[in-house]
Amino acid sequence: MSGLVLDGIAKSFGTVVALHELSLTIPQGKFVCLLGPSGCGKTTLLRLVAGLDLPSAGRIRLDGADITDLPAHRRDFGMVFQSLALFPHLSVGENIAYPLRIRGASKADQAAEVTRLLDLVRLPGIADRPVSRLSGGQRQRVAIARALALKPKLFLLDEPLSALDAKLREAMQIELKLLQERLGITTIVVTHDQREAMTMADLVVVMSAGRIQQAAPPVEVYCHPVNAFVADFIGTTNLLQGQVVAPGRLGLPAGEISVPGLPAGGATAISVRPENLRLHAEGGGENRVAACVTFIRDLGATVEMRLDAAGQELILVMPPADLPELRPGAGVFVELPAAACVVLSP
């Protein structure tokens, strides 16, 4: 099949296990984000794909061919490093032409390719500039252009935007996504920024402690997190512990609610996104629990409200226009819509 297949990959450094055995299939042309906190093994996984480290176990296949033992310089993958790793002794053009020079391309071909790539990353006419005279965003684009010079089968980026300020980072995320769509190149980006992953990815791979927690499209990861780690790591959520009291009924300290897909019995955690909670003045409706407002902050675009529901903290987000006249300490009723409650596996 076409695409990248990681089959039972594991990696240990001495006695330290960086990656537990994992398998993952990345279809041709998809944009994948490896997302997780630092030390979760996402960079290790990317380095295994690039061939900079060898896996302790498992095979890596690309379009059906086993590339596990192929050295990095024969894989023809483009990689952008966190440090960018631009060669300080070469100009912008020479940096971009480096992979072509290594392969013995003619000077004319090199020059034409440099011009094409600089146009691609929207930095025309800076080929003669030394790398040290570039701004952060320009260095970023030059590193991307250099990695794309080989027309690689796989485009790998290790926290490529972490050195940029917030505004520029947002702009580059969109630009990178559009570039990837235009080129149709299979891309893997390592990031710890969940917004970045949500912006760019077709497939988000959430990792923690050397394991894949969930691999799914961004909206699915957001709306249907499989466990507490994913629910908590992606965005803000209400993680509620409760006891299953009857089939489909979950007992919370503040009251009983109905939740679809509950296990047969025992303690269970659910996740409800803050924007799915509804505020009511009266109780009595389905899935409503009594709560007490503890804190309100108006962020302009949204209003965030924190509530106490019999010892459990709830976070609720709503548009400012919907905010009723309330003060901290007021008693209200919060609806946890059954459709928005996601049962988490332990």
């Binding site: 061939g51 050295p71 310089h73 024969r74 483009g78 790793a85 060669f87 990695a147």
Partner: protein, 284 residues
């Protein structure tokens, strides 16, 4: 940190101590030597204060020109060979784990602490006919009979390179260990084999450090006078040997001083020249 230019005399106080040391141990002796180089030699005696250029006029002989040329050429050759050997060695050393690096660095420091006399006699034994390495070659059948490799140019070159090698490694070590390891990884993902990434990225990225090390080792080798005597024939004697010979054995202090001044000026000029070249290179 305050970054204003010093205005009053007191602002210069912190550099008083180093300045004093520099004057006491460098400017004064050098000035003394400079003065002596213009003194007149008293045949059979020592020298008397005067201002004659006769000591410098002797430089114009072919003999002196040959010795000077040989000294500079030998020092340059030693510097180039030592750095050419030390650079890949230091690169591999700096890629090792910290814990494995320490014994190597201690070993290199130990070699550096060896006296020139010990190095000289060790090499003359190793290169001798009776106990030298050629006996090993005879033993494994590569040679018919052992030969003496010392004294000779090869022996001088070997001894001096051996002495300069740890020095070159220690000068190169800081810049190589600071080199971003992702540079070579990037080169590898861009299609360069490890050997090619070494020559197309590591060497050119550190060309200024390499040049600086060549100059340092060159100046270090230029001062060598024991090894050429121990391992070389009179043809391989350097300017330093000649200076010692004149100063100690011929009692011709003014001529020795003139040669020493000349040697200092030549090495100074070369260092300045190389620095200018390095700066020009760094700017483009």
């Amino acid at each position: 940190m305050i970054r204003t230019a010093p205005r009053r005399l007191v602002d210069y106080a912190p550099i008083a101590w180093p300045a004093l040391m520099l004057v006491l141990f460098f400017v004064l002796p050098f000035g003394l030597m400079l003065a002596v180089s213009f003194f007149r030699r008293v045949p059979g005696g020592f020298y008397q204060p005067d201002f004659v250029l006769a000591n410098y006029a002797r430089f114009l002989t072919a003999f002196f020109g040959n010795v000077l040329g040989f000294s500079l050429g030998l020092a340059l050759l030693v510097a180039v060979i030592a750095v050419a050997l030390a650079f890949p060695f230091t690169y591999l050393l700096s890629r090792m784990r910290r814990r494995q690096q320490v014994p190597w660095l201690v070993f290199l420091l130990a070699v550096l602490s060896l006296s020139e006399v010990i190095i000289g006699f060790s090499w003359s034994t190793l290169l001798s006919r009776t106990a030298g390495v050629t006996n090993l070659l005879v033993l494994i059948g590569l040679m018919d009979q052992p030969v003496s490799l010392s004294p000779g140019f090869g022996a001088v070159l070997t001894g001096m390179t051996y002495q300069a090698f740890p020095y070159a490694v220690l000068v190169l070590y800081p810049s190589l260990s600071r080199l971003d390891p992702t540079l070579t990884e990037a080169a590898r993902t861009l299609g360069a084999s490890p050997l090619r990434s070494f020559f197309t990225v590591v060497v050119p990225a550190l060309r200024n450090a390499i040049l600086a090390t060549v100059i340092m080792v060159f100046v270090f080798a230029l001062g060598s006078y024991l090894l050429p005597q121990l391992l070389g024939r009179p043809q391989q004697w350097t300017l330093s040997v000649l200076i010692t010979d004149q100063a100690i054995y011929q009692s011709n202090m003014p001529f020795a001083a003139a040669m020493a001044v000349f040697l200092v000026l030549v090495s100074l000029a070369l260092v300045v020249l190389s620095t200018l070249l390095g700066q020009k290179e760094g700017r483009t």
